[in-house]
Subunit: 188 residues, 2 copies
Amino acid sequence: MTGEIELTPTSYIVLGLLSFSGPATPYDLKQMVTATVGHFWSLPHSQLYAEPTRLARAGYVTENQEKSGRRRKLYTLTEPGRDAFNEWLSTLTPELYMLRDLALLKLFFGADIGELAAVQLETHRKRLDEYETLHTLMAGQKGPAGPRLSLELGIRHERETVNFWAEQAHPGKKKPAPRPPRASPRSG
Amino acid sequence: MTGEIELTPTSYIVLGLLSFSGPATPYDLKQMVTATVGHFWSLPHSQLYAEPTRLARAGYVTENQEKSGRRRKLYTLTEPGRDAFNEWLSTLTPELYMLRDLALLKLFFGADIGELAAVQLETHRKRLDEYETLHTLMAGQKGPAGPRLSLELGIRHERETVNFWAEQAHPGKKKPAPRPPRASPRSG
DNA sequence: AACATATCATCCGAAACAGATCATTGTCAA
DNA sequence: TTGACAATGATCTGTTTCGGATGATATGTT
C-alpha cells in the first residue's frame, strides 16, 4: 500500500507530531503545531485536515472516524509511517532555509526606514519575549534537546533582528553607524 | 480598469523592479530577481511570466509583444501601477517574517545533531561568504540604502546561523555549552 | 427551552509551485 | 552554408497550497 504519494514537509510534521503524541485528531494536531513548530514553519490549519487523509490513503497512518457527533477522525501512526519519518530524520539536508520577510522587501525597495523600524522593532521584541519566556520554562524540564535547541536558534535570529531594527530606529546609538558587518569573532 | 485583482507580494516585487529598471521582459525580471530579492524571497521563474499578465489585466502595467521572433513581452509600469506600489511601500507592516527551515524542523524532531550541523555549517558558510563579497562590492558604489541594508540583515542572520551550527558541531569550544542564550554579546 | 459562544470540520476558488516542454537564436565545425 | 548542438527565452500543465468561508456540533447561561 505504502509509498504512492510524495511526502512533503507538511507530511513529516504530521508524522512527527503523531510519533510524539500518539493518536490524534486534526484539531489536536493544529494545537500542537501552534504550540511548537508553528513558530518556524507556519501552515494553514486546513492542511491538517487534508494532509492526514492523504497520508492515510498511502498507508502511513490509519484513520478512525467517530460514528456520531463531530465525527472526529483519529489518526494513528503505522509502522511504515514511523519508518518513513525516521528515514527522513536521518537524511542530510544541505538546503538552506527560506525566508520571506515583507519588511525586508519594503526596506529593499526604499520604504521609510524610521517607520518600518519602529513597527518591526515592536513586534519582534514581543516575539523575542515570548520565546525567552518559553525558553526559561523549558529549561526547567527534562526531555529531548531538539525542541530547546531549535528555540535557541529562533531566539538568536530574533535577537539579531531586534538589534538591527533598533539601530535603524535610533541611528547613532552604541554602534555609531550600521557599518559593513565584518567577519565573526568566534565560530571560525 | 485598475483594481480588479488582489496584489500579492509577488505583484509588488514585479511592480517594484519595473519601477527601478524601467520597461522589462519577464526574462529581465527573472535576472533581476535572482540578483536581488531572490536572496530573501524566492519564487519560481514561471511566476514572472504569469504575474505580469495578471497585472496587465488590471491595468497596473502595459504589455507590448514583439511581432516576430521570440515574441517577447515588454512590460511597462503605468501610473496606477506606480501608485499602488508606492502606497504599499508606505504602509506599515507589523507582520513578522516567515521562516521555513528544513534543518530546524529536523532538529526539532530529534535528528542527529552532529550530522545536521556539519552539513548546515558548510552551506551556510558558503552563503555567508557570498553575501559578504556582495556587500563589499556594494559598499563601493552609491545608490539607495535599501538594498544594502537588507543585505546587512541577511548577513547577520547568516552569521548567527553559522555560529549556532558551529557550536552544535563542536560542542564545548569557546562557549562551553549551548546554554540558554542570554542578552546579546556584541552588536547590541 | 432559547440563546450565545466556543469548538471542531470541511469546502472551495484563486494562486503558487515545480518542472517539463517548446521555440528561437547563436556558434562553430564540416 | 548548412546542420548540429548548446544556450537562451517563453509558455504550459497538473498538483498543492493558501487562506478564508461556511457550517455543524458542543457547552454554558439565563
